[in-house]
């Protein structure tokens, strides 16, 4: 047992860190430090810089553009990415549909879609959840009826994150209405510019527009857009959701946020006393740091166990990463409220979306804190709610 990184791994970390320092555009970095969202253009710019270096999809197999890194290197890369802080690659392409296509897709699909994902030429969206199918995803009702060389898709998807930018959407659709729940589902790729598709934004409690509803009304989708076999979509979806675990703990991102809060708490004063000198506040911060350290070690255990694990079988222990990772992220947003104190109150729509020329009321850095706190309730809900994660652990690990 040796928990230190090898000299090679440390050299790799230095290389990544230096690259980020030298190549991440300052305006994007500043935005992330301030707790604002990168724009579509920011993400495209940054993805193309990484893709040029060969680092946009490092976790993919080498023949599709992967970097051929060990799980530990991938972990280091992800952590450095969050610490920089830099935007993470658009997961819908790089971590979700990309791996499904190179694992289950045909050669034509691989050629057509994979390079465009790596370069963010195609913005992918996710069409899984429906109004009536949330945690019970297999209860989905959107149908795809075969009609010659086409599928005719009808139904509604929801919670489609950043779907307003979407070029393509990968969907789970019911192709056999007679089959049992999980068995009649197929995995279909749909061009979002096809007629019959309507994207409607959903405003979230923070006032932002991150998620959307997507309506399908007699949408004609070429049959060649089916991934793998008809009615096998559930298997591909399970594979996809298992892949999603990498980085879900967001340890690096939480570290970066804590660092930021500590800096702000040293500046922000109550009269003459910096907030960081308030023992109660400091202890709450330390308590989160302890949980985060434990989670970091848990994550490293999962990463290290990767090489002993059966390929394609997700480690059920990664459910812990989801549960604790989301709890910690949320706890940090709560603490951020305390740093801003009364200055959480003034509402300010995100400047890049709406433009803002007025001087802020109070410290400028405070404005995203309350919206982030409200918005981050999502992290214990998306990707399989924490209650679902507990069901998974109860069944898969505890045998209950």
């Amino acid at each position: 047992m040796d928990l230190s990184f090898t000299p090679e791994e440390n050299a790799f970390r230095d290389e990544v860190r230096t690259f980020f320092k030298e190549n991440l555009p300052q305006d994007i970095r500043d935005k992330l430090v301030s707790g604002l969202h990168p724009s579509k253009d920011d993400l495209v710019r940054w993805t193309r810089i990484l893709n040029k270096k060969g680092w946009a999809v490092p976790h993919w197999p080498v023949q599709y553009g992967g970097a051929g890194w060990t799980p530990v290197q991938q972990y280091i890369f992800l952590e450095e990415q969050m610490l920089a802080p830099s935007p993470q690659m658009l997961a819908f392409g790089t971590s979700m549909v990309g791996p499904v296509i190179y694992t289950f897709g045909n050669e034509e699909q691989k050629k057509k879609y994979l390079p465009a994902i790596a370069n963010l030429d195609t913005w992918w969206s996710q069409g899984f959840s429906e109004p009536g199918a949330g945690s019970d995803l297999a209860g989905l009702k959107t149908t795809a009826r075969k009609d010659g060389d086409f599928y005719i898709v009808n139904g509604q998807k929801t919670w489609t994150t950043l779907g307003q930018h979407g070029d393509m959407i990968f969907t789970l659709v019911r192709t056999d209405p007679a089959a049992k729940k999980q068995q009649g589902i197929s995995f279909l790729l749909i061009d979002m510019k096809t007629s019959g598709i309507t994207v409607r934004p959903i405003q979230t409690i923070d006032g932002g527009f991150e998620v959307n509803e997507v309506f399908f009304d007699d949408v004609r989708v070429p049959a060649e857009n089916l991934v793998g076999e008809e009615n096998k979509g559930w298997d591909y979806a399970k594979f996809l959701l298992g892949n999603e675990r990498v980085g879900i703990a967001r340890v690096g991102a939480s570290k970066e946020r804590i660092r930021r809060l500590k800096q702000l708490a040293a500046e922000e004063r109550d009269g003459d006393t910096p907030l960081i000198e308030n023992p109660r506040f400091r202890e709450k911060l330390a308590a989160i740091e302890v949980e985060l350290k434990a989670l970091e070690m848990t994550q490293l255990r999962v990463v290290a166990a990767e090489r002993n694990r059966e390929k394609g079988k997700p480690d059920p222990a990664s459910s812990i990463l989801k549960i604790k990772g989301s709890e910690i992220q949320q706890a940090i947003t709560e603490l951020a409220l305390e740093v801003a104190g009364p200055y959480v109150a003034p509402f300010r729509a995100e400047s890049e979306d709406h433009g803002w020329n007025e001087p802020p009321a109070g410290p400028e850095w405070a404005s995203p804190f309350a919206p982030t706190y409200f918005n981050y309730r999502k992290v214990s809900i998306y990707g399989g709610s924490n209650e679902i994660q507990k069901n998974i652990i109860a069944k898969a690990i505890l045998g209950l």
Binding site: E283, E289, E291, A294, L295, K390, I393, I397
Partner: protein, 382 residues
């Protein structure tokens, strides 16, 4: 980065686990508790035969050169077995002081006594008003020819009642909580002037209140430079914290395992109670607590060998915070999910609960360490 045990560590783990599985079930343990000093001398001999008592000592001193990982392996297994033999007091604490403070000649004399299982050692350090302050030493050591004379009172001396030798901290200079001025003195526990009053603890371990009235220490039994002992005491305490964390993890994991087993067999309303989601989720929350404790224990284990005392202290405080939180939750919920039977003496889960609660309260509970860690600026630099 590698979380796997090497070949020797795996063999060590196999043999300790086997010993605990074969010789230390809950019923067998009851018999050991009736031993003369509250533990089994036969088991102690078997620890010696397995080499466990020689484990952390350098090969040059007659040991096996094991480090914190080896201690973690042993302590985790002991935690599962609720082992009451004086391993912690003799090997981890006193052995640690010999390793970090004693001269080569002193190690040559005393390490073989421990490694061979012949003598029990205890560390007489705590005092009535010390709480968790390691520098709180009122007991006086006064120069007397080449040696010293000890006077004072020590409290909560783990296994102090049955120890053959005591390593006593005493002040050669300075005020009660000064970091400098503390020395370590090794004495025969039956030396004239030593009075011991032994008693049983909540978790079936034993301790003693020990007083010293003009107890003579020969020069050869003064460990290190008198006055400079605090660094060694802190270092050994940090190693001890990592070891206790491992013991707590072993106990928690076993308590959780037994609880999940109970959920699978206990029937109410015509079904096993493990079919109820409220109880499933509780069992999962316990599992998360155990695994987070295991993770932080690995961190503490790695950091136990850290030379930088401040970095080491941060890690140990972090570990104690997480362990404190985990043992309370896992202990309380193990009892809760067993229902009425959980509060009975005859069931093992209550005994894990008690032992781990005592571990939480040793060397500072979670809150104490949270304050300490926050005063050191936490784990992440701004």
């Amino acid at each position: 980065m590698d979380f796997d045990l090497n070949e020797e560590q795996r063999m060590l783990k196999d043999s300790v686990d086997r010993l605990i599985a074969d010789k230390y079930d809950f019923e067998q343990r009851k018999a050991y508790l009736k031993g003369e000093n509250g533990y089994s001398t036969d088991i102690w001999s078997q620890f010696a035969e397995l080499g466990l008592l020689a484990l952390p000592f350098a090969e040059a001193d007659g040991g096996f050169g094991g480090g914190p990982v080896e201690t973690m392996i042993v302590m985790e297994s002991f935690g599962r077995g609720l082992v009451v033999e004086p391993y912690f007091a003799t090997v981890v604490l006193s052995g640690g002081l010999l390793r970090h403070a004693a001269s080569a000649a002193q190690r040559a004399t005393f390490v073989p006594m421990i490694a061979g299982g012949e003598k029990i050692f205890a560390f007489a350090h705590g005092e009535r008003l010390a709480r968790y302050n390691l520098a709180h030493v009122e007991t006086k050591a006064t120069k007397d020819g080449d040696g010293y004379v000890l006077n004072g009172e020590k409290s909560l001396v783990l296994n102090g009642d049955s120890a053959d030798f005591l390593i006593v901290s005493a002040r050669v200079s300075g005020a009660t909580r000064d970091r400098s001025g503390i020395g370590l003195f090794l004495i025969d526990a039956k030396a004239p002037g030593v009075t011991r009053r032994g008693y049983s603890n909540q978790d079936a371990t034993r301790s003693a209140e020990v007083s010293f009235a003009d107890v003579k220490v020969e020069a050869a039994h003064v460990l290190g430079q008198p006055g400079d002992a605090i660094d060694a005491i802190e270092r050994v305490t940090d190693e001890a914290i990592a070891a206790l964390c491992a013991e707590a993890v072993g106990g928690m994991a076993e308590s959780h395992r037994q609880t999940v087993e109970y959920l699978k067999t206990r029937k109410q309303f015509g079904v096993t109670i493990g079919s109820f989601q409220a109880l499933q989720h509780r069992a999962v929350e316990m599992f998360v607590m155990v695994e987070q404790a295991r993770s932080i224990t690995m961190y503490a284990t790695m950091m136990a060998a850290e030379i930088d005392a401040r970095e080491r202290a941060r890690a140990m405080s972090a570990a104690k915070v997480q362990i404190g939180k985990s043992v309370r939750f896992v202990g309380q919920q193990s009892v809760q999910l067993h229902g009425g039977v959980g509060v009975t003496y005859e069931l093992a889960v209550g005994h894990y609960f008690k032992r781990n609660t005592m571990i939480d309260m040793m060397y500072g509970d979670g809150d104490h360490h949270l304050t300490r860690l926050s005063n050191m600026g936490g784990l992440i630099a701004a």
